[in-house]
Symmetry: C2
Subunit: 271 residues, 2 copies
Amino acid sequence: MTTGRGPLIIIGGHEDREGDRVVLRAVADALHGGKLVLATVASHRHEGYLSAYQAAFAGLGVGEIVELYVAEREDADDAETLALLDGAAGVFFSGGDQLRITATLGHTPVEARIRELWEGGGLLAGTSAGASAMSGTMIVQGPSTETHRIGDLQMAPGLGLVPDVILDQHFAERGRIGRLLGAVAQNPRVLGVGIDEDTAILVQGDRFQVLGSGGVYVADGADITRSNIAEAKADSALSLFDARLHLLSAGDAFDLVSRRPTRLSEADEEG
Amino acid sequence: MTTGRGPLIIIGGHEDREGDRVVLRAVADALHGGKLVLATVASHRHEGYLSAYQAAFAGLGVGEIVELYVAEREDADDAETLALLDGAAGVFFSGGDQLRITATLGHTPVEARIRELWEGGGLLAGTSAGASAMSGTMIVQGPSTETHRIGDLQMAPGLGLVPDVILDQHFAERGRIGRLLGAVAQNPRVLGVGIDEDTAILVQGDRFQVLGSGGVYVADGADITRSNIAEAKADSALSLFDARLHLLSAGDAFDLVSRRPTRLSEADEEG
């Protein structure tokens, strides 16, 4: 499954841009000095993103940084836009609205080219909306810092780069454990992964490790014995027994197949 | 263990005072028309609490409502204050600072009298700080809506009414899952119970049931396989593998001895 594919770096938003820049440094390292395509498609107003990220990556050894913006779906086969991806070492999806990424790029030549780049070993990274979009089924909207009610969650097909995982971001900062549990309860086959700000998971094959200053919550519904997700009314508060929860931080890793966390030995650590 | 003791109603703050008043109604029902002592000790400025709660309880069949306020610890053996508790059917601790409750009342005649009332079958209720204070060891301060760092949690001895439980409040609203896990990781003997706003647990003996519109999170650390709580630095993000998490809502119950959730049958439901 992992043959040839590059890494994914999935970021919970607000990655540090001025201090140690641990998360951006990991992105830079994975590019090996190559060209980075900044995909600002998630944003309705993309002005200023390119210069902000050029400044943020300054001194980290990234080659050229170019911006890929697609305003309308009909522009997603534009030759000039596709040419931006030539020779790129990676693509970085910035924040905004995850639905803009999938609705604009889904099943277009631009998406195909980005996937090709990844299949050939290139890096794909995403922060905030750019993180959510990598899910198989992604969270579009749902309650933060309030009781999770069954009908409050809006989901949509994501880019499917991490197919059996639902990725959520700004996780502790926006109090999103309720909505992640709500998502997992809908189909416990899928793991819920909630990433704090200035924190990322580096996915390589079937395993990820945690980078950055915050936490990563993994909600595993495999052992759920009961939930009211299918029987109750939309405005009912969620009820769910026996979820398993891991809270990971820098130096921890997780196997997506065995669904088990591990502590990296010092020798294993990267980034 | 439960012989003679009255119920506890432990509320996550911001209980509804104008609509269905499900939580306040449960408090009123447990008083059976008797006198309620509103203990506003948690607050530095207690003015207005009495009239607000008198209005909130209006029409729910509560008898007299009187206020018990103790400004300084040295006043906690005052005969007039103690007399307020004579003939009371219950005590309701309002919100503020939980440390004011324990520092002012801990090991005083007022506390002894309140406990006596409960041992004799009276109701004890508490909201927000008044909920936290009922814990064996209580959370005084800790991060909300941010990554939980090991050194961020301040705890203190509580009133010990629910000895092996750490009670947290405003739970979803203030994004407190991180700090509850951090508390539980320090000693997994203790269950973490996080209560959303306008939501309560009604504790009777070794069992509680959920009332109100929100959720109740139960974090059980019994199966934790690894955490960094004892080994890492104070500013490290918490890491913890294999916590068990239940999310309960109205109609669910929980056994504090077997540590198991159950769904109440319709016949069981109260309030």
